[in-house]
Symmetry: C2
Subunit: 342 residues, 2 copies
């Protein structure tokens, strides 16, 4: 089969690789019909994080089950499924408490920007799309973000403690930030302040439910957000993952408030967190890599019920040969998020 | 009157200074009968944090009200009172939500290791000891830690989310760590694992309710604590404030768990927090400078009811002339905490 491969910074190739097979009783192979390029992929694409040359890429699979191992009970060949960005068993302590990213049997996808993927843990990982929606293209495109960015934005909102009537401040206007706006609205936030630097994305944030936007940069952005929140927000959703965004999130947080963070914190180890401000103001830092599997059912229910549609984040679609172009478009911010249809 | 003054690293002097007077309608002057030397004072005493030479020291006052301004309603001259380590108004948003350390009218004490102190906000700051206990020396010594370390240990336990039946891991065997053990037990913890390096203090931790102690250092300590908790504790109370202790706390925290931290995080800005571990394991960091005023009433009720007695942390008592010796004893770990009776 054909799959996307990392050939070094700025270089994605499409190569012939072995087609996966069911190799154990709990495994399954899925033919990928939809997947995506993730903002977190840009870290290695830009050479800002290490990744082995020749390694396969992509971690947001949706498709049709091709084959299952003898112990798999939740899906069968022909079922439409989606899967979170990590493999989880569904049985261990952490899966049971909704922290599938800490699954003791967990694993990464070998690469979902490919014609097929395999999971060693089908029952714990795959989420079945009900048959009546299984071939509805609009529904599938609205469900695809549940593999990563919608669940991640939701985790930011949950971690920041957003509830009914709250004011939420969302730092970042990328796909995760936009999904965080949807998530905050879904959890009942009364005011949602979206902070970012791109007019088109902030316009989408407003469509998604942002009541105000902050387009300033640096200290001016912090001042504006603090003004809009009369001194800082109690619930701040950090959806970028860079050190500067983490600083912004802490600075716009009200004393006693919570920063929910979900972006891989690149650069924070070098520049450090502003722990003194957090300490003085009793700011809680909560979140981490999002256990999106835990949120799949409740978010899917809202998508299928017509109450949630993150699909407008996909502003470009490519086929497998177009994956390199997809990375380029996201890197140059020509696209918010790129859908891949292998 | 006479008061303790910082004369430079390692040098505490006793000087004649102006006796405070009531200078505004909400103010009060208190004759100090009991106060203490705090572990946080050791940072400037050791030259590890900056402090102006000639500045007055001490922030844990208990005493008898000497005079009050015309608008003060909660206390009158002759009342026995204690006060938290910061002045707060009791009226602003933050005081009302129990975050008195962020009080918009807040202030620091000019120096409580003195014959008298004054507060600009008597009603919001002073906590009256009921008359029937006002001259009971054992009760007063059990109440004195409510000015700082007992409220701080409690804040660590609350921030770490300790509740009934939980396992709590307490990092640090100083006065705050020992009070955190009491607080965790009070909140219903079933197992309390105290980590420290001093046998006498850990023996006291066991008297206070610790079910196990960890005396190893470095990686061995982390391994032992993880073994005792079958992979890390869900509730870790960081009660030291140094970067290395924060690292330990994060390392012994179970995925999805919470570190409650209350020590001034010295050194963390240089060495950095292990944000990647926190991110990967979804560890929440909560806490900060403890709003001990918020906890005074509930903790006092337990002290007066005979259910809480942190006074064994005072292993040495000095008068005002003995304050320099009190700092020396704490610096050299000859005393856990020093009581001062001016």
């Amino acid at each position: 089969m054909r799959a996307a491969v990392f050939d070094g910074p700025g270089e994605i190739g499409i190569e012939e690789v072995p087609t996966p097979e069911v190799e154990s009783p709990r495994a399954a192979v899925v033919r990928v019909t939809h997947t995506a390029v993730c903002g977190s992929d840009l870290w290695f694409y830009r050479g800002e994080s290490d990744r082995e040359t020749g390694s396969r890429v992509g971690h947001e699979p949706m498709g049709v089950v091709e084959a299952v191992g003898e112990d798999v009970t939740s899906v069968e060949p022909g079922d439409r499924v989606l899967a979170p960005f990590v493999i989880s068993c569904g049985r261990c302590e952490f899966c049971r408490k909704g922290l599938h990213t800490s699954c003791v049997n967990g694993d990464s996808w070998l690469g979902a920007q490919a014609e097929y993927v395999s999971t060693s843990e089908a029952d714990g990982t795959l989420v079945r799309v009900p048959d009546r929606y299984a071939d509805d293209e609009a529904t599938l495109q609205a469900l695809l973000p549940l593999t990563d960015v919608m669940g991640t934005g939701h985790h930011a909102a949950v971690s920041a403690g957003v509830g009914q009537g709250d004011t939420a401040v969302v730092v970042g206007d990328g796909a995760v930030g936009l999904c965080a706006v949807l998530a905050a609205r879904r959890l009942g936030a009364e005011r949602i302040i979206a902070m970012g630097h791109h007019e088109d994305r902030l316009a989408l944030a407003e469509e998604f439910g942002a009541t105000q936007t902050v387009t300033e940069r640096g200290e001016a952005a912090v001042e504006r957000a603090r003004e809009l929140t009369y001194g800082g927000g109690n619930h701040v959703l950090e959806c970028v993952g860079a050190a500067s965004a983490m600083d912004t999130a802490i600075e716009v947080c009200r004393p006693g408030g919570t920063v929910g963070y979900v972006g891989v914190p690149y650069g924070v180890d070098e520049s450090g967190l502003d722990v003194f401000t957090m300490f003085s103001d009793n700011i809680t830092l909560s979140g981490g890599v999002a256990p999106v599997r835990a949120y799949a059912e409740e978010l899917m229910a809202d998508v299928l019920g017509g109450r949630l549609d993150p699909s407008p984040i996909f502003t470009k679609t490519v086929d497998l040969d177009g994956v390199p172009e997809g990375y380029r478009a996201m890197d140059e911010r020509d696209a918010i998020k790129v859908m891949v249809r292998p």
